[in-house]
């Protein structure tokens, strides 16, 4: 167990080191990535702030609670952009060009090799904005000590669920020749998850909670952080994570059988 873990950590360290080396080669791109992230954070927070200039509450939440939710999702998004998002774009390229052959041959778990290979250092160093807002609004809504203790683990749990759902969807790339569309679909799921579940009504809410559980990603942990008695959402999250992981394993094996190894 421990030697395997140590080996994977050593490999991951190498992945990170390579990404930093690549990032330092393209400095303008590096700076532009930082600006891009800040524009994104600013536009989302600004939009919600402008809405609350005209309304006192949306659903059960006032400005501070709603902004805390947005900041929570930005923190999830920050980790997602830093550690996994680049890999999805590369996965489509790997499949289209047959480069997946070389990854399959590595003496490593292939999914680890695909989805943990690329990180984005520019986004990593941008951490102070989303996390700063999260802490600021956490103080404004007066989170309890228990909620502060659970805050970071729940951001990570949200990231795990979002990533698992996206990996599951990315398995569709095995069957589509041009996979940009699947990546855009993935981004649309993120867009839906960025708003609390109570803004969606009826079938849409049930569909995006039970069938494609993106509404659990932010809403379940934030409801728990506001009121620890609402722990049931976390159980749903864990259950969803389990089911989606099973689906990934199934579609991965099925996808590999359909993989045509282009250019080989």
């Amino acid at each position: 167990m421990f030697p395997t873990l140590r080996r994977y950590l050593a490999v991951y360290r190498m992945f990170v080191s390579n990404c930093f080396a690549a990032a330092s080669s393209y400095r303008l791109h590096f700076v532009l990535l930082i600006v891009m992230d800040q524009l994104f954070y600013g536009s989302l927070l600004g939009s919600v702030d402008f809405i609350f200039d005209h309304v006192a509450r949306i659903g059960a939440w006032d400005r501070a609670h709603f902004m805390f939710f947005i900041a929570f999702m930005l923190a999830v998004d920050h980790l997602h952009m830093t550690f996994v998002s680049e890999s999805f774009w590369d996965f489509s390229f790997d499949l289209r060009t047959g480069r997946l052959d070389f990854i399959l041959l590595r003496p490593l778990n292939t999914l680890f090799s695909i989805f943990a290979r690329l990180i984005r250092p520019a986004t990593m160093i941008n951490f102070f904005i989303p996390w700063g807002f999260l802490i600021y609004f956490g103080r404004v809504v007066e989170l309890s000590l228990l909620s502060w203790l659970f805050l970071f683990p729940l951001v990570v749990l949200a990231l795990l669920l979002l990533t698992a759902i996206e990996i599951c969807f990315s398995m569709l790339m095995f069957w589509t020749i041009e996979a940009y569309g699947i990546n855009f679909l993935r981004m649309q799921l993120q867009q839906i998850a960025r708003w609390p579940e109570f803004i969606y009504q009826g079938f849409a809410r049930r569909f995006f909670t039970l069938m494609i559980p993106v509404l659990l990603v932010g809403s379940a942990p934030v409801h728990f952080l506001f009121d620890p008695r609402q722990w049931l959402g976390l159980v749903w999250m864990l259950l969803a994570l389990l089911v989606v992981s099973g689906l990934i394993a199934f579609f991965w094996r099925w996808g590999l059988r359909s993989y045509e190894s282009a250019s080989s």
Partner: protein, 266 residues
């Protein structure tokens, strides 16, 4: 082969290429606009219904949803083009062929855009017919629809020319998608795509008036709705000014970029 025949042949080829991967086209062009509309529809319904608010800056729920429906049609009509292939062509050295062929890089890209624009018009027209037939779009007048469509198509040309300029940055940058995402983020925020601009603070509106952003969504939507209160000639003048500026910048960028071009892979 006459110049016109070259344009027509390129438009036809691009049309076929766009339709070759139909699922991809659906997910790239229609999906994002549809999902964005779904989120906005849900958000504004929740704000109005749950809170029992009757109006926000002159919009009641029906008016706000009407605004968002027209914003979706404007999105379908003129905001789908991206310059992904263009930047890749430069980076991978594929533009060498355009330098020797009797049909240049800009004409080729523009002809491809025209083909893409044709698809966008069809998608927008189908959406309009469905929404009007289902009763979701009410109180529309043919003159407003024609005027709004004309303005949106001009805005589509600006959108294309800006995407082209962003793509040309590939002469200097390894990746240009970052610039594209920055443009999209700012455009979405400042154009009135999420919130009608009346909701924004007055000081911001005063600045925005001289930028191209309000003319990307807010102005065409208000023209479609028949409630545009500004001067249409001023809106056209500002948009044409920005279009001319971006076109001029594209020419300069192309000429300077070519000096750096190393024809990778040749």
């Amino acid at each position: 082969m006459t110049e016109w025949a070259k344009w027509w042949a390129t438009i036809r080829i691009s049309w076929t290429k766009q339709l070759a991967y139909k699922l991809n086209l659906l997910l790239l062009v229609i999906g994002p606009t549809l999902v964005f509309f779904f989120v906005k529809y849900s958000l504004w319904t929740a704000i109005f219904r749950v809170e029992g608010i009757t109006t926000i800056q002159g919009y009641d729920l029906a008016g706000m949803l009407h605004y968002q429906i027209w914003a979706m049609i404007v999105g379908f009509l003129a905001q789908g083009y991206n310059s992904m292939n263009l930047a890749e062509d430069i980076r991978l050295g594929r533009i060498s062929s355009y330098l020797v062929y009797p049909f240049g890089f800009w004409p080729y890209q523009t002809a491809s855009f025209i083909a893409f624009q044709g698809l966008q018009i069809i998608v927008a027209a189908i959406s309009f017919v469905i929404l009007a037939a289902s009763g979701l779009l009410v109180d529309w007048h043919l003159s407003q629809v024609l005027l709004g469509t004309g303005f949106s198509l001009l805005m589509g040309v600006f959108w294309y020319q800006t995407s082209y300029l962003i793509g040309l940055a590939a002469f200097w940058l390894e990746e240009t998608w970052v610039l594209r995402v920055m443009f999209l983020t700012v455009a979405q925020f400042l154009s009135g795509a999420l919130l009608p601009l009346e909701i924004y603070p007055a000081w911001l509106l005063a600045i925005l008036r001289w930028t191209p952003f309000p003319y990307l969504t807010f102005t065409p939507v208000k023209i479609f709705m028949g409630t545009y209160q500004g001067s249409l000639s001023e809106a056209l003048a500002v948009l044409l000014f920005w279009l001319a500026l971006v076109s001029w910048a594209s020419q300069i960028t192309w000429r300077r970029g070519l000096r750096l071009y190393t024809a990778a892979g040749m």
